[in-house]
Symmetry: C2
Subunit: 340 residues, 2 copies
Amino acid sequence: MNKKTTIYDIARALGITVSTVSRALNNVPTISEGTRQLVLAKAKELNYSVNKIASSLSSGRSNTIGVIVPTMQIHFFAEAVHSIEKELKKHNYSLLLYQSNESYSDEVNGIKTLLEAQVDGIIASLSLETQQITHFQEVIKQGKCLIIFDRTHRDIAAPVVKLNDFEAGYLATKHLIEQGYKKIGFITTNKEIAIFQDRFSGFEAALKEADLPQLDDLIVRGELSIEAGIKGTEQILQSSIQPDAIIGGDDFTAVGIIQALKAAEIAIPATGVIGFANQTFSSFITPALSSIDQQANKMGEECAKLFLKMVKQKNPYEDIEQVVLDPILIKRKSTCRIDK
Amino acid sequence: MNKKTTIYDIARALGITVSTVSRALNNVPTISEGTRQLVLAKAKELNYSVNKIASSLSSGRSNTIGVIVPTMQIHFFAEAVHSIEKELKKHNYSLLLYQSNESYSDEVNGIKTLLEAQVDGIIASLSLETQQITHFQEVIKQGKCLIIFDRTHRDIAAPVVKLNDFEAGYLATKHLIEQGYKKIGFITTNKEIAIFQDRFSGFEAALKEADLPQLDDLIVRGELSIEAGIKGTEQILQSSIQPDAIIGGDDFTAVGIIQALKAAEIAIPATGVIGFANQTFSSFITPALSSIDQQANKMGEECAKLFLKMVKQKNPYEDIEQVVLDPILIKRKSTCRIDK
DNA sequence: TACTTTTATGCAACCGGTTGCAAAATTGTT
DNA sequence: AACAATTTTGCAACCGGTTGCATAAAAGTA
């Protein structure tokens, strides 16, 4: 492979200047139609292809956006990244991907890397470990667009896209109550993460609204996983009160709940089970698991749109927008003992 | 935000040249320890951060790799990308992500975009539509490292990382035979994609080896999906021969098979079911689905390693390597009527 | 035809680093 | 102390575009 052709080659071949060539290639209005065509033709002839690196350096815009997510192994994030990429691609942005692997130091490093790469903006969801947020403030300080989604942090003065998790918890609980369940358990995480706390608050609110007691024996705080769902359910079943429904902090936990109930020969949906996230598998496990959809795609889309809007503004942090998506209740067998 | 500090600022502050600063920051051995320390200290003081764009332009290396996958919505690809990113990050490479969305023209565009971005290499898995491969040849022609994984194409003269899909089909079938299943059905795609064809060939080989007949009535070619699994199973059940096991072209199809068998009140694993991919959900549906693990993570890792190896060579296409991973049989309830 | 406007192009600096080669500074040798 | 060998640093070109400003060319007007 001989050296790649540059605008200098085109200019030389045509006996014009590189500035003219540059303008022709970028459809700058001040160029005459005639030369534009000449340049385009010659560019094609020489198999020219821009060097975006050079272009970025001189223009100061990289047309690249950085995305930091905990891990692509979590389907929700893969889905969100999918949508972000799909949306931004339409506007000629490329996506630099960085996984924090749920580690604070990796996340800090990710921000550093992306800033060094001169991204035009960063869309991020925080790692479970993250407490300090100076690295995010640095992004803002540099005047780059920053958007936080799903796993947010109240102290970051940047636009946010998230689910109304309170509403999610409320919806799930209210649905159970409407189905006649009264003694409702909840297996969730003991970590202080906003989304999980909010879900729980929604749960509490729905109970209060229906004048139902919150039964502490039915509430387990630990991990979120199939295993944790099983253990949690076993623990609940040993308490003096028998639950007639259990909410899983996420769908994996809910699967564990289902397995434990089956093992204990407790019928579902006589005893109801619901989870959060509406994972792919939720619809086809037995019984099909009711869940609250987290709208990963919509969230990714909104992030992308928000970025496109911000990047156009002189001062992106003028008024900080907050997009709160409504959760969607997906009713399936595991909670429907009345209708259906 | 005032302008970012550059090596010029550091040089000026220290009364030395930018070349010296550059060398100090890059740990070039020809620099004296004294000045290196001075530069590093001043860099920290001024909160300096490299501009990788500038660095890339002048050095000719972007330290970025492009990854093209059909879509992150497919868990296998998300998982592979996860591993690629994780592995390459260790070696200071960043990852530009591009989804072809199973579209040929998008894929072509992806290659173009990544080349323009001056990536040091591209790791790709082909879209279902792709027949022409000139865009990949362009990558090779430019001397950039190209690695194809999973969805490969015989005419691309680049290293490949893939699963031994023949072996996968063979393993699945042999396992069924060992479990005493004799009338084995297969629901697969009608598309001519190597991996699926290979799986089927493995199926045929295992049957032949065991002197079992290949029962055409039990073979359905169409789509791969839960729906297709259900439809396919219904079709098979209507044939004159009743199957005692059915293989799903992927785990989703296998889930459909399970659902259809349940609906027809046919017991599993009296009638066996096995799929391919070992999706997350496979282990916890009822009955737990046996499957062939596709080793997404391992595949990603191997791609990364292969790239790191190639990128060091003067002529990356000297001898083209091919990494073929062995599939792993995951035995679960859905096929284990003997032991366990 | 001469002069003003309005395009279209060229000039040249700039973006922020990297790197081969030469020159200067140090160190070593006798 | 003089000279050679070695280590450090500086010089300057280069990577491949972009863009504000000036100038040349084309078009419009009187």
